[in-house]
């Protein structure tokens, strides 16, 4: 365990060292490639004057709202398309099609419909999350071995009980991987939205990124990218990784 930590730390320290050496070699202008230290400086000052915390808070709040709403709508819709052929042929096809649409494509639509508002932001995130979640849920429920349902039926399980005690738990590995994918999509959509939708109701990480570009503040751009990556990693390690570990233990090697 310690050696793994050591190896990982060495790798990332090495990455920063390489970055530093490339800057030192002065191949590119420092305007385009700032040194690790100047990025750190930016992060420190942004943390001290509060802009970074505020932006992170705004972004994470939007993310959670959009992602939560996406799950709240997507999960039941996925169950619906999995259980009814009619829904599969209609909502299922719609989801399959829209899933392939890059979420940034929703931005112009959102801007025209909702203007420069939080609603536009929310709309883009929900649209970015929803469809892949429907597809993942539908897939998950459909790949459940039919024998589980039959076994449950002979033991007297019917209707709602079968859904809550057999189908949902049996589909759980797929639901979790679908939610993980949905989380990644939500992030992508929100960043697209924040870069294009400039509103005064909240200044998120994407907007910080956007103004970094406008001001040619490369240290800000790279600093914000690092923060975004770190938040993504933190969520994965604290939320999804333990769930996956639990399922790996329960289900065994074949499903997880």
């Amino acid at each position: 365990m310690i050696t793994r930590w050591l190896a990982a730390s060495l790798f990332f320290v090495g990455l920063v060292v390489v970055w530093h050496l490339v800057v030192k070699a002065q191949i590119w202008s420092p305007l385009l490639l700032p040194s690790p230290l100047s990025v750190l400086d930016y992060l420190r000052s942004a943390a001290e004057d509060g802009t970074l915390w505020e932006a992170t808070l705004v972004t994470v709040r939007r993310l959670l709202m959009g992602y939560g709403l996406g799950i709240l709508i997507g999960l039941p819709l996925g169950l619906l398309t999995a259980s009814s052929r009619w829904c599969h042929d209609t909502i299922g096809i719609l989801a399959l099609g829209l899933q392939t649409l890059p979420s940034v494509c929703w931005v112009p639509l959102a801007l025209l419909w909702f203007g420069q508002s939080e609603a536009a932001m929310l709309f883009v995130v929900v649209m970015g999350t929803l469809w892949s979640l429907i597809i993942a849920t539908d897939n998950g429920v459909r790949t459940i071995p039919p024998i589980y349902r039959r076994a449950a039926r002979t033991m007297g399980s019917t209707g709602l009980h079968t859904w809550t005690h057999v189908i949902l738990p049996a589909a759980l590995p797929f639901l979790i991987s679908g939610m993980k994918q949905g989380w990644a999509f939500a992030w992508r959509s929100l960043m697209a939205a924040e870069i294009y939708v400039t509103i005064l109701s909240g200044f998120g990480l994407g907007q910080l990124l956007h103004y970094g570009r406008e001001l040619h503040a490369m240290d800000q751009v790279i600093g914000v990218i690092i923060v975004i990556v770190l938040i993504g990693l933190a969520v994965d390690k604290s939320l999804f990784a333990p769930t996956e570990r639990f399922m790996y233990r329960r289900w065994g090697t074949e499903r997880a």
Binding site: R250, W251, G252, T253, R255
Partner: protein
């Protein structure tokens, strides 16, 4: 047809009555006549084995008795009541382990018990532990399903099927995927359990020796369409050893009949 001479003197009340059961399946390219006019009476506490080559409809018949499928013609009655859906007195055990991987061993055995009314949590727990003890797996009750071997999984499946106290146990090639040694142990287990807890058992298999080892009666099916071809009463004393000479004699006789009609079908 009915040559049954029961070795055990038991009341001859019919637990299961099947009359003129027929079933067709329609696939995209085929119209399969799965069962043709199958009539069968199974007595309370009887152990009946349905034997036949694959495609003879024996598993379909079991599903019909379970209430998972419906016959296109004919009737099935259990305790005089028409069967049209799965009922609490008929539990099924499947070939591949149908245990739920999201539950522990104990959780699996409790699943069916929780669907029974009028039992406290403590009573359910006690019952589950009793049946796990019966199949020799009580110390694995907190294990996860994937940690068990194939034979252990089927033992858990047996405990899960027995725990809600069904009067009929339907077994669909439950030992088909197991190695010979494990199977032999389970033959011993199932006979012991059957002698302790008299259940009516309908056991589907394509293994003639297995059928002779376990059944009071062996019912031979022929395919295309699935029909009852012949019945054999097996008056051997219990517990039976699958390797015994007497048992082999019965198995050879039945095997001969089976080969006869399989060949005639290939030739015809």
């Amino acid at each position: 047809m009915f040559t049954t001479e029961h070795s055990q003197a038991r009341p001859q009340a019919s637990k299961l009555v099947l009359e003129h059961v027929s079933k067709w399946f329609q696939t995209s390219s085929l119209h399969v006549h799965a069962l043709d006019d199958v009539s069968l009476r199974i007595a309370e506490g009887e152990f009946v084995c349905l034997v036949g080559p694959s495609g003879c409809g024996k598993s379909t018949l079991l599903n019909i008795i379970a209430g998972l499928e419906h016959p296109d013609r004919g009737t099935v009655r259990a305790d005089g009541q028409a069967v049209d859906e799965p009922g609490p007195h008929r539990l099924m055990m499947f070939q591949e382990s149908a245990l739920f991987p999201w539950l522990t061993v104990l959780g699996n055995v409790l699943f069916g018990l929780k669907l029974r009314n009028g039992m406290s949590a403590a009573e359910r727990r006690e019952k589950a532990e009793y049946f796990l003890e019966l199949v020799g797996l009580k110390r694995f009750m907190h294990s996860n399903v994937h940690e068990l071997s194939g034979g252990m999984k089927q033992r858990v499946a047996l405990a899960r099927a027995l725990a809600p106290n069904p009067s009929v146990l339907l077994m669909d090639e439950p030992f088909g995927a197991l190695d010979a040694l494990t199977r032999e142990q389970l033959y011993g287990d199932i006979q012991r359990i059957w002698s302790q807890h008299r259940k009516t058992i309908v056991f589907v298999t394509h293994n003639v020796r297995e059928a002779v080892c376990l059944g009071d009666r062996v019912i031979l099916f022929s395919p295309h369409p699935g029909r009852i071809r012949e019945e054999f009463a097996i008056p051997l004393p219990r517990p039976r050893d699958i390797n015994s000479v007497d048992l082999a004699r019965f198995a050879t006789e039945i095997m001969g009949v089976l080969k006869g009609y399989v060949q005639s079908e290939v030739a015809g």
